[in-house]
Symmetry: C3
Subunit: 444 residues, 3 copies
């Protein structure tokens, strides 16, 4: 008997209408197919990060401002990221991507007024490719900071340095122009706010975001490289109000949070309490890095200035109107096995490190030694229980058995303090502890 596709040949019924095959190239690992003329491309991608952590002193931490509270878990395991995505190029000039993060599928112990998150979107956009730039529209990172711009697959430690983690912007829906030039990077974007979901009453705000970087010292072999960069981001905060009843605006709360250097134990050592009545805010970051062979050093200063609206509905004493928070980090990396970090001038961030002697080809993989000091100042807060400060010390060891798998170990010392309702203003509750964290990550 004839196959059904022949019987249906008079219909335009998609499931059985004949397809005309392309002449293709196929890559199996990091699955991608491409037409021989390079004008169409389709691929599948993913990343899985599995984390475990152990907290040495888990009692009376600064996760709670009260003196006799703040006990955290002793140890924990989580799926930190589980992203599946598809990406492609169509008609030569149109690039697109869709990426979903399935992490954190459970929301524990819900309360009235909670916002319940199902899945999260990562990159989800379409872009037009110019000869030396791209115009993208959709959902992606606001351009900001070297460490924030570097993919989570390529950062050195298990989590980004505290001040970047706390003060960087989120992904949002927007439009952005980026250069695609071998020697430097520049980006300018306009973004909406408040995520990707419907919210009937919330006028969501917007941001204007820019970032630029270049490499003052660079040799053609990429053995010596350097990086200088600057980011500025202005955001007008979203709000709702009932003007028809003469009520004042109620601004969205602003969360600037960072944890212990792992999410497997989720103590909030910076930004435990959100800021309220924030009208607008300006973020900025100054970036520098330098590499020579297997050694590299990287550092940034990141800060945020918040303007609060005295006319806002919920505005409360103490009437702090302008707030500044910020921090910095310095980190070094050394590959004992001869590899080097893959600095990319065209995007001002880091790409994949190629393992020289992978496991399975007679080698033992790549080994990277790391050290980082990070400081974040969150002491300027309008809520007397919201002030926090962290000194964060990390030693790291990364093992890359093959290109697409990394095992990371971080030994961290957290030296934290917080203001407290149980203390006088200006006094602080202190806590310090070792934190040990492990990550197994792979990508495809």
């Amino acid at each position: 008997s004839n196959p059904i596709s022949e019987i249906h040949s008079e219909l335009d019924y998609e499931p059985t209408s004949p397809i005309e095959g392309d002449e293709v190239r196929t890559r199996v690992n990091k699955f991608t197919v491409e037409t021989a003329d390079g004008k169409h491309r389709f691929g599948v991608r993913g990343r899985i990060m599995l984390d475990a952590a152990y907290l040495d002193d888990n009692f009376m931490t600064t996760d709670d401002d009260r003196l006799d509270r703040g006990d955290l878990a002793k140890y924990g395991t989580i799926i930190r990221r589980a992203r599946l995505g598809m990406l492609g190029v169509m008609y030569d000039r149109w690039e697109w991507q869709v990426e979903i993060d399935f992490r954190d599928p459970v929301t524990y112990d819900i309360e009235e007024g909670d916002d319940i998150e199902g899945i999260r979107f990562a990159n989800t956009y379409v872009a037009y490719l110019f000869d030396h730039g791209r115009l993208a529209a959709g959902y992606f990172k606001e351009p900001f900071s070297m460490e924030s711009s570097t993919s989570s697959r390529r950062i050195s430690f298990i989590e980004r340095a505290t001040p970047i983690d706390a003060y960087r912007p989120s992904r949002e829906l927007g439009v952005m122009y980026e250069t695609l030039n071998p020697n430097y990077y520049a980006a300018l974007g306009l973004f909406g706010g408040d995520g990707v979901s419907r919210n009937r009453r919330n006028t969501e705000g917007f941001s204007v975001a820019g970032r630029a970087s270049f490499s003052p010292v660079y040799d053609a072999s990429n053995r010596i490289w350097s990086h200088l960069g600057l980011s500025v981001n202005y955001r007008s905060n979203g709000y709702e109000y009932q003007r028809s009843r003469g009520r004042e605006k109620e601004y969205n709360s602003v969360r600037l949070r960072s944890r212990l250097g792992t999410r497997a134990i989720d103590g909030r050592v910076i930004g435990r309490r959100d800021f309220s009545d924030v009208k607008d805010m300006t973020r900025y970051a100054i970036e520098a890095a330098y590499g020579v062979g297997s050694f590299s050093i990287q550092g940034e200063y990141a800060g945020v200035r918040l303007n609060r609206d005295e006319n806002a509905r919920g505005f409360e004493n103490p009437s702090v109107v302008k707030i500044s928070n910020g921090g910095y980090y310095v980190q070094t990396s050394f590959f004992t096995t001869g590899e080097q970090r893959n600095y990319r001038r065209f995007s001002g961030d880091f790409g994949r490190t190629r393992v020289q002697n992978p496991v399975g080809s007679g080698g033992y993989g790549a080994v990277e030694l790391l050290a980082r000091y990070a400081y974040a100042d969150h002491t300027d807060h309008h809520d007397e229980r919201g002030a926090q400060e962290l000194k964060h010390y990390t030693l790291g060891l990364n093992w890359y058995p093959v290109d697409d798998i990394v095992l990371k170990f971080n030994a961290m010392f957290v030296d934290a303090k917080t203001s407290s309702r149980d203390l006088e203003p200006g006094e602080f509750k202190s806590w310090d502890s070792m934190v040990y964290a492990l990550r197994l990550q792979f990508e495809f």
Copy 2:
């Protein structure tokens, strides 16, 4: 050393047991692979729709029946649809599809008793293909209305016309037979109710749904076409009760809702309040369309009759037992660049329009001008605050740079009214405003 697949050759261990390659055809854009004999096929598909909207007069709208309430957002951005799916044919005659919609991952400001939705399913079924028909079982649209049957990738405006949006049925689990005949379309299905999740106490109801259409005037080149269609859908509503305690049935609430013509601002101008105590309901739609070259016109009448159960547990005065709601729309389309809508007689809906001069091949894409008037009558309601009525005027401009990308702009005038607890029965709160909406969509 031998590859692990050889070492494991004595095992039937799936991850390493050898695969026998097929002779295949591969299509890169809209990725599909097919065996050379056409008997097996596998593909990946997706659609992304990114929406923005601006509301001219966002205060005291009919989203709230009270005179001094109903303020909505001024502007908003959302991911309207983000669907990833897989589809295939196996053993020549068995067609299947799985499609997940990841939109709206956040539920804001939850309250006791809320139903929290994680992801949504789109088409998820397996079907047996006969020579001239198909029998499908799974989750898909109940057959109803031309505009409802047309894929969201192929509709002319950003959202479907108000009465179709409000009164069409949902996707449900069911079985359906459809014709696959080049000249006409007919479908009959039996469906369950209440979605795809477990619900311990809810006896979920069922529906019987049919649709048929043909093309009284049609020329072989598809330059002139016409469409007449009819849909009828009877649904017995789901309920729970505790018969063991002598309690009466409590029927599932019935939502028949439509918004502003965009979801990026989510005002509920039709069906803000659900119907309660509905025992069963009958929907119907009358469909007509006509096209000649680049010009087309399309219109439908859709209505619903609800029967309420006076013995239901929550039955309240005013004791309205029979309720009728309905509406109609007329819309026209004209391609200034020579393309035409792709009417498909075999399914009574619209397929993809092929762009004649795509961007990147020396052209500027396709341009479509649109106009629509839609009316929905929801004034017959058992709840005195539930009555609403809408006159909805839309001018549209679509730009298709290439086949798989569309940029849509809709300028809309909403002329709405609602009953109000602040007014006498028969009096209405009125609101009108311009709404501007933008969509960027791509498919793969």
Copy 3:
């Protein structure tokens, strides 16, 4: 004009940087691509299970302990499983998998304190393949029981037998070594607890789990086979407490639940109430099976012993400290069409049955007749309303039109009882009913 990939050739911009194609083998059905040398592999997989059920006597069931309560739905339809996954081998020795289950996307009628689940993870891991074993890290089933280890695509009935369903462990994050030996199976693993999400205060517990099996009688053609196996699993339960305030531990509640033999009606006939204050627990299973040609028989005993902590914060009278629950099942299968169950010695479970005369190749598919008796004893409970017992009788008919599609019908008699707050201790509320369930499943 040049394609964009040439213009960008000086950049390392992933979306357009040229790919080097591999020499590949492609399988269309159960889509997999493999490099010609077998060292890299990528595939996509999925399973869809659509269930319907009808409950003969749905009033005053043992889903509620009170005498005049416990009414369940009369009928229901659900998507029981909808899994999409990707899997592969990289660099010859590294196997990985990611699999998401999208079932049950709605949580109805939420209450304060609920845990809201978005999506669920199924297998999500990376493993190193030794010549005769594998070391896996990630999220997968704790090794336990033949029926639990067998994929849901390969079990005989719609749901696993009651005692296995109730007393088996969950998937957790962990590390496990398994043999890959043609003649026997052994596994030992260490697992965390409490799922994959962050939970700030919960110290999540751990388990040590082992399973081993062999085939005392086996002929090389696999027409005669036998199975003996043993599983033991010790779990230290997770908890939270505020040691800083001198409070006692509060252990995670322990759910050991089973339903009617279908989830489409979700009555909780075993384990309606969770156990509290459980410090640790030990599960065990004894497995046996035998097959000759088209006939097979399979049975297991599974049990669990719980130790409660008298010092726990919520410990209540009656002060039951040690609790034992367990059960067994025996089931037989006979293929009237000549096929046989595909017992796999290397993993001690069942693989896919190959249909000898598939529909579409002149045949009518495979037909399997089934019978099962299962008993579960949950009467030893610390909560006087928590005791339940079930005798569960099932007749089954499976039809496999082709290898990857199964239609299952189960006619079941449930004979249940429960303790009740309306009765004296030692007295039971009884309920029995027929349950009819249907499943349509396909895989790709």
